[in-house]
């Protein structure tokens, strides 16, 4: 389903003052959260205008996270695929192993600035939980991470990592026991402890200002990439590719390029066992607009508006909604969103491992699969920049289990 919207002349004008990206986004929350959200938006605006805050953020991104992350030309993979050149933005090389730290560093600094003593977070694959626990440890703040009981089982290594970092991991047993339920539970915690607790949302969803501030903190990926492309290749890429669950790594890469009309953009959603099977998490490809977790966006629901259970081999993409800015980019036609199945992602995982010596996260393997598909259709002088959003160490048990290998 597509609700076509005329494209704007400037993509940097979104969101509006109340967090709307065209008809999407907004603040659909119970009254109690309206004031804390306004307080957060004000603190963020103030921080953005404070050179000291920005300098400290840059410093931490460089010396703690290890930025800039390189752009690596995957020549052997490109050769094997045949067609366009595949370039990888190596977010997997960041401290903690994924792009998620870009956002938690920023929100952690905001928490400290607002005088909050306790951090809460939701997590699916555990990458955002680990990134939140990391920042909390470094700032000396209490950290509680909500995680679906189902996800705890399939991501046990990350659960242990969070505990090593001093976080409390709370299993969520309501609903489908996955990321969406973890988000509900974190919201319930926040509304009950608003005076001293800072909620670090891990993706570009939730009520305003979260989709905007999570985007801004991740946009360092795209800003760097834009500069690196010119330095290394003398031009911008022909296409960007990133995986989309909630959509934080994708928006981080896409956003600084939105006004570069010649740069195409592709979001790879989790098509699971295939869109037709109903077992997938492709909300943009197969959903329709509704309201969940504080914003209006594309959702996977039954016809009564009850949010349905999703499926993906990668826990980090297993989410029935998607960031509202992606919904808007879909409707304006600026970005295309396509489904990648579990099998295609696994094949891409192996191809990248064997040709380039890189184990990608299963989430990022969806992007690699889409980059490979796209490369086949283009001449070999074209450049595709694919966001390798995380490393695959956390997924080796899952992959072994799927392939029937005892470790």
């Amino acid at each position: 389903m597509l609700n076509a919207i005329d494209p704007p002349s400037d993509y940097f004008t979104q969101p509006d003052a109340r967090g709307h990206f065209g008809p999407y986004g907004g603040q659909f929350v119970a009254d109690t959260l309206m004031a804390p959200l306004a307080e957060l938006a004000a603190a963020y605006a103030e921080a953005q205008a404070d050179p000291t805050f920005l300098a400290e953020l840059d410093h931490d991104l460089k010396h703690y996270v290890g930025r800039p992350s390189p752009i690596y030309h995957a020549q052997r993979l490109s050769q094997q695929v045949g067609g366009a050149q595949i370039l990888l933005k190596r977010e997997d090389l960041n401290h903690t192993g994924a792009h998620k730290i870009n956002n938690t560093i920023g929100q952690g600094m905001l928490a400290r600035r607002m005088g909050k003593t306790r951090i809460i977070a939701e997590t699916g694959a555990g990458q955002h939980g680990v990134a939140s626990a990391t920042v909390a440890a470094r700032l000396g703040l209490e950290c509680v991470v909500y995680m679906g009981a189902t996800d705890i089982e399939r991501q046990s290594i990350n659960v242990f990592r969070m505990k090593l970092l001093g976080a409390t991991v709370v299993p969520v047993t309501s609903g489908s026991k996955t990321l969406k339920d973890a988000l509900n539970e974190a919201m319930r915690d926040w509304v009950s402890h608003v005076d001293h607790t800072f909620y670090i949302i891990g993706t570009v969803a939730g009520p305003h200002p979260y989709p905007m501030l999570v985007r801004d903190f991740n946009a360092v990926v795209g800003r760097e990439a834009r500069r690196q492309m010119v330095e290394q290749f003398g031009r911008l890429p022909d296409a960007l590719v990133a995986c989309v669950g909630g959509g934080s790594n994708a928006i981080g890469l896409f956003h600084p390029f939105l006004n570069d009309a010649a740069v195409a953009m592709f979001g790879a959603e989790a098509a699971g066992l295939g869109i037709a099977s109903g077992k997938h998490a492709a909300s943009l490809s197969a959903g329709r607009p509704g309201v969940l977790h504080g914003n209006r966006t594309y959702l996977l629901c039954d016809d009564d508006g009850q949010v349905t259970e999703t499926h993906s081999v990668s826990a980090g993409l297993d989410y029935p909604g998607v960031g509202p800015e992606h919904a808007w980019l879909k409707d304006t036609g600026r970005a295309s969103y396509v489904g990648i199945t579990d099998a295609e992602a696994l094949a891409a995982f192996h191809a990248l491992a064997r040709t380039e010596g890189i184990l990608a996260a299963l989430e990022s393997s969806h992007a690699v699969a889409q980059a490979m598909k796209l490369a086949r259709t283009l001449p070999n002088d074209r450049l595709i920049l694919c966001n390798l959003s995380g490393r695959g160490d956390k997924d080796v048990q899952t992959i072994a289990a799927i392939e029937g290998i005892a470790l």
Partner: protein
Amino acid sequence: MNRIDQRFAQLKSQRRPALIPFVTAGDPNPAWTVDILHALVQAGADLIELGVPFSDPMADGLVIQQASERALRKGMRLERVIALVRSFRLTDATTPVVLMGYLNPVEYFGWERFAAAARAAGIDGVLLVDCPPEEADSVRPVLAKHRLAQIFLASPTTTAVRLKRMAELAQGYVYYVSFAGITGADQMVLADVHQHLAALRNVVKTPIAVGFGIKTAAQAVALADDADGIVIGSALVEKLAIATDAKSAQQIAHEFLSPIRTALDAVSKPQAA
């Protein structure tokens, strides 16, 4: 005048606060809901808030989360909730009924279709937890066209500016959330609630009902002077969960609500003759 305004006007003249039970439609069994509603009226309910189950009830505590899950498992859906009220109205033409729930089922049902069906079924008002006044602009004309009151939540964190705007838009009553938290939690501090309600009174011209965390007759009585209505949800829903048939559900509802009604009436101040 709609049923909600009529009821509050009548109670005001009697100097009694409204007793407002909340139950989740379809829980513990869709076949018992209408019987439960009648039992609540017999036990002294002045207005009923009927919960529309949703898969992701972000503002609700465990009791109402589980009630929603049970109701959904038994096939409850918005269309059937509306049908339950239609059935309730066959024998009760006077007790106001307000649907309480989340936006998404209404969005998927379609606003115009929902408002028309709700009105035709005898529903009087709608309280959408995740639809603050700021996001209600497109919804307001549709509800107004079908004369459904849109009821808003106010809370301890509502700023003066927002409260003023809310007071302008409020219909039926304003539901004051007694603490920053989720339904059914034990976080209510009476002194705080007294203070906030007094401040609210200066701005809000519609009646004010108070809820979240009110579980006992003693708590209801303690708030009777400050509020025009007392909402009791989780404590009742928790009791109803163990019902085994329609008759036992009715009995549980009656035994729960009736002592609260008696306690409230004992402290109400009838107008001097």
